[in-house]
Every structure is written in structure tokens, then in C-alpha cells.
Assembly symmetry: C2
Homo-oligomer: 391 residues x 2
């Protein structure tokens, strides 16, 4: 057994890790360039976007097959994506400046978010790097990676094992739009001192599957999605404890991303059961959390279950209207061909939809495939933010 | 050779066809129930939604394998979908009333659009049927099938063949939301007197492919999509002439649907070239016309080509950033790894986006797959209409 205790400090909660941010001038008087540094060289694992146009920082890591590092340079407002070989050369030049600034760096890497298709302003970033001081300032670093996020997303836990040893895990993330399971458009940096003896990439992938890959804001998969896990191996380790703590860490951040989704007011869990298999349950959950008609109905607090059924029918997955059941939490509205939807039930369902968080349960009645995906409503505000984002 | 001449009258433009609508009380003082009637029994062809939860009117036609009819009952405000066996029994009862009203009906059928998951109000519809009079009123019938459409969609042509014979083709359609290629959420009724000697279903399917299946408003495929073609065979026929006239008919209506899309201000053609094959070109076109980030950028008149590139990268299709070219009409902004996007080009591209109609050209540079899909912007108004539609 083990105990998982929430603690303060995000990525700075783990001993030996430093992080901070500076105002390089890309944002209007806010943090926009930052770093995560570890005194000890760490093993790293990562999952990257499935978008075929992976941004330069991702190519940089993959081309070099980097598995150990102790420094990540971070920037927002520019994704350094679709920038060709020059985008990678820009990173090489910036990494050189990091080496000059800090003497003991091993394979420094970079992670970017922002507008696609614009070269980095290297001079401003170089100036920012030169101004870095080793600090433990989780607030500044988590602000430095924000784009349209309205608040920093951060979490940390201490895990106390039965044998008296312990480890910590801390993380920051950004993301508020362009969010789609595959993986979600976001950056996430997890640091730990756990002495992980299992396959780090596998453990990370499993946790991403039920957190970032289970959320959707708008069905768009970006060029920059990245989730990094780095560990200094200075602490204790237990596989189950680590998996549980990592799951809690990533789910907390993933749910924060949906709650902070551009213009979103509602957090909705789509609990899919009885699908042919898990893959189809995921596909149906994704179809529901991406459907404009479902999302606008949620915004309108309208228990329009017909749109939910129609979206399931259009998902391409195995389904049968005489086996399907749809409930708004515990209120069954459609039961295998029978419509339970008089004015009383409609009122009950509408009351559930007035809540900030609720779940919609769809039981396909076919197999044992289950998956819960998480989404939000589509509001006027989403349109406004995304019509105006760049200009 | 042949001549195709636009004429007035929509579905009533063809001799022997009657159509009209009445105010049955489902809408607030507007036409909501109607019919299309032919004195002569017609051969019919149709394409229906790929949604697995096909509405009762579609099942009714498919269960009976109907290939000849001379009467279609139409209603809006209720889709009669997800209504189980009772939904089909309701149609049977209404068809009986149609038989009583008109003596010479052969296989009367029904076509519905509106809210999913609510039983039809048979009594109101029966009263409407009893009030029908044989008329040629294209305005009333095209209004009777409208839901959130802001104007009736109708077209007709006379086709004059070289041998002196001729035929006519006339049609009405509805659709303004829940529009996605596969096929689009819409109803369309095409009538003709052409003496079609080729496979009607094949000819219809081919024309639907480059019209209704090439448009997208919101990526939702409804339970009720239907496109019917009926012909009395009283006129002339030429395969090429008919195919061309049918293409013009369906494209006119499909483009009207996109232009009338809920809250849309812009009509955008996504011209995809150089894809691996036609299927991938279609998939990319669909991804672009469905992307919320692309749609909101169009609404904001922001030539944010990075979102276009990112959507192509996320489409799952074969693509290469060193082969891709993106243009706003004739303004090349991204050319196989090179970004042509200084402030002058940005201004030119922005000027193009200020137009009501424009095209975005994406050349994948890989194969010879081409397809043009059509979409629109996503505005505040879309959210408003769909948040409020049912309640």
C-alpha cells in the first residue's frame, strides 16, 4: 500500500528541479519564455502529436533520439511548426546559447506552442535565456507556456511507500483550444525523482490514454502536442504507486484543460458502455465530445438526446437502436427503442444540464467496450477567441 | 449536343407533377406539411443517410423495396427518427389516409425532417392530408420542408436535345445545419420526365457525390438525409444531357444549403489537388471544411494558413511538408517548406478572405487525387441557432 499526498510547487516540488519564466516581450507584459532544469541528468519519456506535420522541437528530439536531458527551454506565442529545416537550425542555435549560459547541460531540448508557420524570433529568446536565473518559481514557468489559457495548470504529489521511502511527482501543462484526443493539443511536463525500473514510455503512454487522449475541445490535433516525463531517480519507487500518481497528475491537468477550454462553461463526461470493444467506445466518446450539435445543445442546456443518438449512429461504430440506452446521469431518456421523455423527465434532464459538471451515459448494449471521454460546450466565446486569436 | 435552359417552377416545372404545402400548425403560421404528386406512376431512385439510425420514413421505403411511386408526403419539425416500430406504424396509418384522399396512389411514401426522438402528431398530419388540393405551388411545398433554412431552395431546367425532343428536371431541397458529406443532412426531391434508360440509382449516386456529399456545415450526419429522383418517363432522354442537368440541379441546391448554413457568412471552396488518391483528397477536403479552427479563422477573415496545414497533417492522409503548397486563390502562402507570408502577402490573402466567396487551394504534391469540397465559416449565430433550436 501507499499514500498519495497533494503538495504545492508543481514542477519545482521535486528536489533538484528548478524552473522559472521571464517576460521576453512576446506577450504584453507577461511570462512567455521559461525553462525546466534538473541538477542531475534525467531519463526522459515522451508522447508526441499524431499530426504528420510535427513541429521542429519535436523533430529535434526525435532526430537525436534523446533519452536523457536536464534542460527544457520553453516558449509560447510561436509553435515553430511548418518552418522547415530552418526551424530546426533555430533550435540548434538556441541550444548553443543555453549551453553557454549553463555549464552542465546534457542534451538540452525545447518545447514550443503558439502560432504555426512563423520563424522564431531568436534574438529575443537569446536575450531571455541570458537573463535566466536558477529559481524554483512554478508560477512563472507555468505562465510562460500559456497561450489562450486563462489560468496556470499545475499539480504535485508526494507518494509515501510502505517501506518508508517516498518519491514526488510534479507537473505543469497548458492547453485551452485545439484539443483532440490523439493526443490533445497541449504541452505537459512531468518531473519526478522516482527510481522507475519499468518501461517509462509505456507507463506514460498508458496514463496519457486515459487523461489527455480522453479529452476533446474542438477535434483539432495540433502540430506541437507533447507530454514529457523526466525523472532524476533520486527517490523511491513502486510501480503501482507511480502509475496511480501519474494517472492522478495527468487527469487533474487534462480536466483542467477542458474546464479552461476556450469559452467553455460546462465539463461533461461521456461514459460509453456496452460498445463492441474499447476502440469503438473511444470512437463514440470522441464523436460525442466533438459534435457541434451536441456541444451547442450542452451550451443551451437542452437535453436534446436525439442529437446524441444521431451522433452515435453516424460514428461508424456498431450500434442498434433497440439495444441503445441514453441517460443524463441517472435519468434514463431513451431505452432500447422506448422513449422516456415526457415533460417531467425532460425537466429532470434539463436540471442536470444546468450543472457545471455532469455525465451523459450511453450504453450500446452490444459488447463490453467501455471508455469515458471528457468534453465541454461550444459557446459564442469559443468563436470569438478563435476568430481573433492571431490577428 | 444539347441545351440546358433554367426555368421557373421547381418540382412543379415538370408536366404531370403537382406539389403544395399547408399550414398544419407545427410552425408558427407557416407551411409545414406538403406533398409531391405525379399523375403517372414514376420510377424512383434514392440515396439515404449513412447514419446507422435511419429514420422511420427511410426504413419504410427500404423495407418495402419501393421502386415505383407517385406520391411523397412531406413534413418538417419532426424527423420521426429513433421512434422504433411505432414510428413505422405511424407512417402506415398516414399512408392509409393518403390512399383515402387520392384514389390512384401507388406506394405512397413519406419524408420527414426535424427533431429526433419524438412521435409524429398523426392527428394534425391527417387533418393536413385531408385539406390537400392538387396544385402546382412550388413556393408552398419548398417552404413546407424547411427547418432552420432562411429561404426555400429550388431549381428547374429544360433540356433540349439535338433530335428535337426535350425533358425537364425540377427539384427542391432543405438543409442549413447538421450538414456533412456522407450524405449531407438534407432532403432533396428531384422530379423529371426524362425517359431514363440507364441505371437511375447510379446516375443519382454520381451526382450526389460531387454535390451534397461535397459540402459540409458542421460535420454531423443526420438520421434523415434523403435524395429522391422520380421520373414519369414522358419526355426525351440523353445520358450525357441528363447527367449534366442533374449535376447542375444538385450542385445549385447543395451550394444554396452551404450559403444558407446556420449563421454562415462565407462560402469557401477547398480545392484539394495532388493527394495520394481521390479518397484522400475527399478526406482532406472534409477535414478542412469541418475544422472548427479553420472555420473560425474564416469567420475572422484571418489568413491563418498554419491551421490549414495543421488540419491536413492531422487528417491521417499521406502528406509531406516539403511537397505541400497552400494558396488563397492565386496568392501562394506556403510552398513546399518555404513560407511566403510577409505583411504584403498577408494583406493580399486577407483581402481575398473578405469576399463572400473564395477558394483555398491545397496541393499535396504527392499523387493525382483531386476533390473540391465546400464549406462555410462558424459564427456566433451558428452557436445561437443550435443552442436554441429545440427549446
Amino acid at each position: 500500500m501507499f499514500r498519495i499526498v497533494p503538495i504545492e510547487g508543481g514542477v519545482t516540488a521535486v528536489e533538484g528541479f528548478y524552473a522559472s519564466g521571464v517576460k521576453a516581450g512576446f506577450k504584453n507584459d507577461d511570462y512567455d519564455v521559461g525553462y525546466i532544469y534538473s541538477a542531475k541528468v534525467c531519463d526522459i519519456a515522451y508522447t508526441f502529436t499524431t499530426n504528420k506535420f510535427q513541429a521542429a522541437p519535436i523533430k529535434y528530439v526525435l532526430n537525436r533520439n534523446i533519452t536523457k536531458t536536464n534542460f527544457i527551454l520553453l516558449n509560447s506565442k510561436n509553435a515553430n511548426a511548418l518552418t522547415g529545416p530552418k526551424g530546426i537550425e533555430d533550435i540548434e542555435e538556441l541550444m548553443q546559447v543555453c549551453h553557454e549560459k549553463f555549464e552542465n547541460l546534457t542534451n538540452p531540448i525545447m518545447s514550443s506552442t503558439g502560432v504555426i508557420g512563423v520563424r522564431l524570433d531568436k534574438e529575443k529568446i537569446k536575450k531571455a535565456i541570458k537573463s535566466f536565473e536558477l529559481q524554483k518559481d512554478n508560477h512563472k514557468v507555468s505562465k510562460a507556456i500559456m497561450t489562450t489559457d486563462t489560468y496556470p495548470k499545475t499539480v504535485a504529489f508526494e507518494v509515501i511507500l510502505d517501506n518508508g521511502s517516498s518519491f514526488r511527482i510534479g507537473a505543469i501543462a497548458k492547453g485551452a483550444g485545439m484539443i483532440n484526443p490523439a493526443m490533445a493539443t497541449m504541452l505537459c511536463f512531468v518531473v519526478s525523482d522516482a527510481d522507475i525500473t519499468d518501461d517509462m514510455n509505456k507507463i506514460l503512454q498508458e496514463a496519457v490514454e486515459i487523461s489527455f487522449n480522453a479529452i476533446s475541445v474542438d477535434g483539432d490535433t495540433s502540430t506541437n502536442d507533447s507530454c514529457f516525463l523526466m525523472t532524476s531517480r533520486e527517490g523511491g519507487y513502486d510501480k503501482e504507486a507511480f502509475r496511480e500518481a501519474l494517472k492522478l497528475t495527468l487527469q487533474k491537468l487534462a480536466f483542467d484543460i477542458v474546464k479552461d477550454a476556450e469559452g467553455a462553461n460546462k465539463f461533461v463526461a461521456f461514459e460509453i458502455k456496452g460498445a463492441k470493444n474499447k476502440l469503438e467506445a473511444q470512437k463514440i466518446g470522441k464523436a460525442l465530445s466533438n459534435s457541434l450539435l451536441v456541444k451547442t445543445a450542452i451550451f443551451g442546456e437542452d437535453p436534446n438526446w436525439g442529437r446524441i443518438a444521431s451522433t452515435i449512429g453516424a460514428s461508424g461504430c456498431e450500434c442498434d437502436e433497440y439495444r441503445l440506452q441514453i441517460s443524463f446521469e441517472n435519468v434514463l431518456v431513451y431505452d432500447r427503442g422506448e422513449i422516456y421523455f415526457d415533460s417531467q423527465i425532460e425537466q429532470k434532464a434539463a436540471q442536470i444540464m444546468q450543472k457545471d459538471e455532469f455525465k451523459i451515459v450511453c450504453d450500446l448494449g452490444i459488447g463490453d467496450g467501455e471508455f469515458t471521454s471528457y468534453g465541454c460546450d461550444l459557446s459564442y466565446e469559443y468563436v470569438k477567441i478563435n476568430a481573433d486569436y492571431r490577428t
